[in-house]
Amino acid sequence: MKGDNTFLSDFDLKSTIFEAYLKRVTPGGRHVILLFYVISKYLELKKLVKDTGKKITPENFPHLVPRVIFMGGMSRPGDKLIL
């Protein structure tokens, strides 16, 4: 992805929703909640592909909005995942 000029070139950036979850990576594992959120969105789209047989593009589904999700974080040295 780094240095890839074609990344997001298919997106109409004016109509895209930019979401972000920018936090320090903590031992509690709160970034996992965002991963669950993204996977649930992905599974919804895959279900739509399965039901309709079409690729999910803005032309095929004009009522859906493209979405780009940022996840940011850095951990402290010595952090361990709490189980």
């Binding site: 298919d10 979401e19 993204v38 999700i69 995942l81």
Partner: protein, 134 residues
């Protein structure tokens, strides 16, 4: 996960994910002014999201989050126009049975651990998913 989403031709024109490594508050000014939705998904009562939602909301992004301290305060002050909250409060968490998982969490955990769409899972993370409540 980002690579999987980018490689899937069915959905990659609608959903993408970008990881920003080494994110610190000193780089926050690059993102704060440009976001549409500010996601504050945290477990109520566990870790507060502190002042970050204030900074994002003051710069015009919508707040999507769980019912935690700062999110609820912003909700009380600004109302439903800019804040969308969902889920249980801390006191609801105390009363609910933490050994039960919701069907959606169960389904997503299955996708991660058994279907392996997103590659092999680290053993430590596997334990975390198996013991994770609700």
């Amino acid at each position: 996960m980002s690579n999987v989403l980018a490689a899937d031709d069915d959905t990659n024109k609608m959903l993408q994910m970008i990881f920003l490594p080494n994110y610190t508050t000193s780089k926050e000014y690059l993102y704060i002014c440009s976001l549409d939705v500010n996601v504050q998904l945290i477990l109520p009562g566990k870790q507060s999201c502190a002042t970050q939602p204030l900074k994002f909301t003051m710069n015009g992004s919508l707040l999507l989050g769980s019912r935690d301290a700062t999110n609820m305060r912003i909700d009380n002050l600004l109302g439903k126009d800019v804040v969308v909250l969902f889920g249980m409060t801390y006191y609801d968490h105390l009363q609910c049975d933490n050994n039960k998982r919701s069907p959606l969490v169960e389904k997503i955990t299955n996708v991660i651990l058994n279907d392996k769409i997103f590659g092999n899972v680290d053993p430590l993370l596997k334990d975390y998913f198996e013991q994770m409540p609700t």
